[in-house]
């Protein structure tokens, strides 16, 4: 799926408050098509809040999110209606939780989401996605019986089933073994090659080494650094954040 006009993501002075608590404050960055941007910071830094706002699940308190020329979200303005619905069609998200129904089989889960995203042939799309995830032989097994790594692969295909332009990943390496991590990073590089805009929040610096085109460092809801082509992430993290990564 190509989305006309959605060739970059621009976040400007984005803030989100929960009552008097400031979860995110004046974050500004840009990400272009065919790049991976890392969101780095300790737990509670505001990475998930930022991803939820980019996914349209959470309204910003102030600031602007520009999805190329496809759509713009300005402050806490209304995000409901047809335009928000069209924008969501260009976004794929893999969160902390995997957003899968454990009672349904892998094929049923992906068929359901493909149908929800308006696919012409959801069943075929689901089976192709399972082949990409190297899980075609487990297509008819309930997701509840899968290992964490297998569920993560199904969940990633769920997030990508509609060919989103913007891919948001929140701690995708959690609970994965080395082989699954290697498969996931290979898939991310493949997606970058296809021209997607990928944002990945993690505190797993070693696993993300060499993956990012840009890295945004966030601490206590504030953006402290934007690094281009970051190398030696652990050392960079320590120098930028003033503390070793936990």
């Amino acid at each position: 799926m190509t989305v006309a006009g959605f060739d970059h993501l621009a976040v400007s002075d984005l803030s989100r408050h929960f009552g008097r608590r400031r979860a995110l404050s004046n974050v500004t960055f840009q990400a272009t098509a065919g790049s991976i941007l890392g969101l780095l910071g300790p737990n509670g830094a505001g990475k998930s809040t930022l991803i939820s706002m980019l996914a349209t699940l959470l309204k910003p308190t102030s600031g602007t999110i520009r999805y190329g020329s496809l759509a713009t979200i300005q402050g806490a303005a209304d995000m409901t209606g047809a335009s928000a619905s069209a924008l969501r069609g260009a976004i794929g998200m893999l969160g902390h939780d995997l957003y899968l129904y454990p009672e349904l089989t892998a094929a049923e889960n992906l068929t359901f989401f493909a149908a929800l995203y308006g696919a012409a042939d959801p069943r075929t799309d689901a089976l192709r996605a399972l082949e990409r995830a190297r899980l075609a032989d487990r297509a008819h097994d309930p997701v509840g019986s899968f290992s964490r790594g297998m569920r993560q692969r199904v969940a990633l295909e769920r997030a990508l089933i509609h060919g989103p332009r913007l891919v948001l990943l929140d701690e995708p390496f959690t609970g994965l073994d080395d082989r699954s991590v290697a498969a996931l990073t290979a898939r991310l590089r493949e997606l970058r090659g296809e021209g997607r805009i990928i944002l990945l929040a993690t505190h797993d610096l070693d696993l993300a080494e060499g993956l990012f085109d840009q890295a945004v460092f966030i601490r206590d809801g504030r953006m402290v650094e934007l690094a281009t082509q970051p190398q030696a992430l652990r050392t960079l993290y320590q120098s930028v954040m003033g503390q070793p990564q936990a």
């Binding site: 996914a55 349209t56 699940l57 959470l58 309204k59 209304d78 995000m79 409901t80 209606g81 619905s85 069209a86 924008l87 969501r88 069609g89 976004i91 998200m93 969160g95 902390h96 939780d97 995997l98 957003y99 899968l100 129904y101 454990p102 009672e103 349904l104 049923e108 359901f112 989401f113 149908a115 929800l116 995203y117 308006g118 309930p142 769920r158 509609h162």
Partner: protein
């Protein structure tokens, strides 16, 4: 089929498939509803004779209690794996998602009612089945109204810490009119003389309630689900 109804159907089909696999909500709701009916039977049936007019009230009390349980569980299931967020991320009309969830709850409660009716009719010697079409219309109208409000509140409360306590506190005061109308309309069916005019009045009241609250829920679901 328009996209709206297609999405509602997709969500409904998914909910029914998940429930058919686990039977978790149906079995617990039915068990609870049957227990309520049996408790009332012990209290209100003396020497084989039931208290006059009790059957209609007991039917709707059992439906309301079982419905609350089902409403809570159906959204708890979406919360556990955060699949509600995945539904909200889809480029679909969010009111269509509401309609899909609503139809799933209605289907579940209607099946529960089909099991409860013969049990109550037997225990309380209530002649529910002499006017079958009226009975079907009354049950459908009452169930739709109750579930329309309940589904909206259950969705709203899905992230609230005290959702299990808050749901009945919010739901029952708003649902009282449709429950009272349901009891009154059902009572006309078991009365010695069936009063068509009275049954039509209560049924019309329930239909009006349904229209108002389904419309209100469709209008408010999307803003309520966007934080």
């Amino acid at each position: 089929m328009s996209r709206f109804f297609r999405v509602a159907w997709i969500v409904l089909r998914k909910d029914l498939t998940v429930e058919m696999r686990s039977l978790e909500i149906f079995s617990t709701s039915l068990f609870f509803a049957v227990s309520v009916v049996l408790f009332f039977a012990v209290a209100f049936v003396q020497e084989g004779r039931a208290l006059d007019g009790a059957a209609a009230g007991i039917l709707w009390i059992a439906v309301a209690f079982a419905g609350t349980l089902a409403l809570g569980r159906t959204f708890e299931r979406e919360r556990q794996a955060e699949t509600l967020r995945a539904l909200l991320l889809a480029p679909a009309d969010r009111p269509a998602i509401y309609v899909g969830k609503l139809l799933g709850i209605i289907a579940l409660l209607l099946v529960t009612e089909v099991v409860l009716l013969p049990l109550i009719a037997y225990l309380f010697q209530a002649g529910f089945f002499s006017h079958l079409l009226w009975l079907a219309a009354i049950l459908l109208a009452g169930t739709v109204g109750y579930c329309a409000v309940g589904t909206l509140f259950a969705a709203m409360l899905v992230r609230a810490r005290s959702r299990d306590v808050l749901l009945p506190i919010l739901l029952y005061p708003i649902a009282i009119p449709v429950i009272i109308a349901g009891v009154r309309a059902t009572a006309t069916l078991v009365a010695p003389e069936f009063d068509v005019a009275l049954a039509r009045f209560w049924l019309s009241l329930m239909a009006a309630y349904d229209v108002v609250f389904v419309t209100l829920a469709l209008w408010s679901f999307e803003p309520l689900m966007t934080d």
